[in-house]
């Protein structure tokens, strides 16, 4: 993600963004693991980077994220997904000043 100022450019790397997102994911209640995205058959082959569980498509001004996680059995899965989505968006907005275009949550498996 790039921000232009009159003195130059500020670039926030995908890695930095993923770390912010991971913090939100790991603190989300009901999520017990991130899943290795390469094990999942993907529709799109646009991978900016391979990092466990988080796919980011960052064209410099728009951010689309896909998050692959394992949920715990016995929790309200949709609610946990919404909570996590909220937390990710909060982190991106508050700490990086980025309003993501999409944050898609994929519950890959349920842990017993």
């Amino acid at each position: 993600m790039k921000f232009s100022t009159k003195y130059g450019e500020v670039e926030v790397s995908s890695q930095a963004l993923k770390t912010l997102m991971r913090e939100a994911i790991v603190n989300s209640y009901g999520i017990v693991d991130l899943s290795n995205a390469s094990l999942i058959s993907t529709v799109t082959s646009l991978f900016s980077e391979t990092d466990r569980g988080i796919k980011l498509v960052d064209d410099g001004s728009n951010l689309k994220a896909d998050v692959y996680v394992v949920a715990e059995y016995g929790i309200n899965i949709p609610q946990v997904a919404f909570n996590m989505q909220d937390a990710i968006i909060y982190n991106l907005k508050t700490y990086a000043g980025i309003d993501p275009q999409e944050v898609n949550i994929h519950i890959v498996d349920v842990n017993f």
């Binding site: 790991v26 603190n27 989300s28 009901g30 929790i75 309200n76 609610q79 909570n83 909220d86």
Partner: protein
Amino acid sequence: MNKALIMKNIDGKVLISCFKKGTEVVLSHVDELNALNVFPVPDGDTGSNMASAMLEACKNLDALESNRRDLQSVLDAIESGTLLGARGNSGVILSQIFRGFKQGTKGKKSLKSEDFALALKSAREVAYNAVMKPVEGTMLTVVRVLSVDSEKYVTEDTAEFMEKLWKRSVQIVNDTPRYLKKLRDAGVVDSGAKGFSYIIEGFYRSLSGETTVNLNVENIGTSGIVKISQEDLKYLYCTEVMVKTTRDVDIDELRNYYSSIGDSLILVNSGGILKLHVHTNTPGLAIDKALEYGELYKSKIDNMKSQHHQIINIEENPVISKEKKNYGIIVVADGSGLESIFKSLGVDIVINGGQASNPSTAQIKESVESLNARNVLIFPNNANILMAANSVKEMVNGKKIFVVNTSTIQQGLAGIFAFNSQMNLLENERNLKEAISSVRSIEITQAVRDSQVQDINVKKDQYIGLLDGNLVASSEAIDETIFLTLEKAKVNEAEVITVFYGKDVDEEDANVIFKEIQIRYPSADIELYYGGQSYYHYLISVE
């Protein structure tokens, strides 16, 4: 304490009572819990979220048949209810705690205090298993510490056991800032942890004899949220301050003072914290006044001319305004245009609902309760909603409720026009009746299936016209239907024809129809408005 209750083990019936009492205690502190919510994000909904989970479980408990109130069935009901009603992190954690607790009861029929302690261990395990990074200083900490300490409190008297659990939980809650920096910075305890301690308080109070439960409690612990007025840059600085109060807060004095130096005032005093938000040109004075009440720990002054200022917008319902009015009006309508029209006519609350989706009795009841008025009039505007509205009459105390007999939006509008807040109820009743009977309601929509009504053949997807509820026209072309129906309504004798077009109708098409109506019926006053309703393409009132 009643001696007969001392040896009470916790069976299904006792647990129902405990859980409901716990719900009552949480409900009576919802605002406080919301105000305390700073972790993980300050979205201010912990109280509401926990209440949602508890209430959903209470619904399940109420639905249990009298012969299915054994402990395991009750625990099942609680588990599934909290699961379904879980909102936010706190709701989800709560549901896991109850789930783990149930597993820890290992099928028992009733619990002595040592069984309760054992079940707490399982609750702790299950709750901690469901998160990668359990955060201490939250509800999880309370469960963890209690799961260990409860062993020490085991005694024959379950009420005594629960009292010790409750007191310990309060200590842990007060300790939470020690674990979490965010709590320390905000000078608050963790809201989820506090909520959980309220549940245990409920369990204790129920076991010691307070078995009556009232789930319609007023919120205690907040000193009133003052009504927000419209924004305009009369005052430049958006000033927000949080104060850890060291003396009693005179909310009235504060409100008067801040209203004299600014507007858009929000004052919340709860849990030892005073939160102030005001728009003023003298931020220094605003802060000085706050300092009289304690230590400042957070402050922010924004010049609202700058682009990044966020204007705080609070919904009108339900704001608890301080003046009690004579009349409050609630209307059920579907459509953003219709909503604005009703609001501009002085309606207090517009509940969204109509043919496609009826509002629940609970929604109507909530709206009635949120109005600070002696008399409340409800315009259901649909025959199906009439019954729900009538049943609310018995559910609310302290206000007189009148359900106006309107079965269409058009009747509702006619009624609102005829209503006069200066007149007494009897006169209004008479005027309303007259106005409603003098309007004819036309509804234009699409048929969902083939049918035959009297001598009219209806095919699916044709446009049908209803006059006062009776199908009088059907055609492939919407304009033909409209004009056939208008004819049946003897519109050539009418004085005023008002047309509302729905959200599926193009403004252009509506205008074409409008002009055609004007041409055909030149003697009548014709008006066109955007109603925004779904389901009915056009709603027409003929007077």
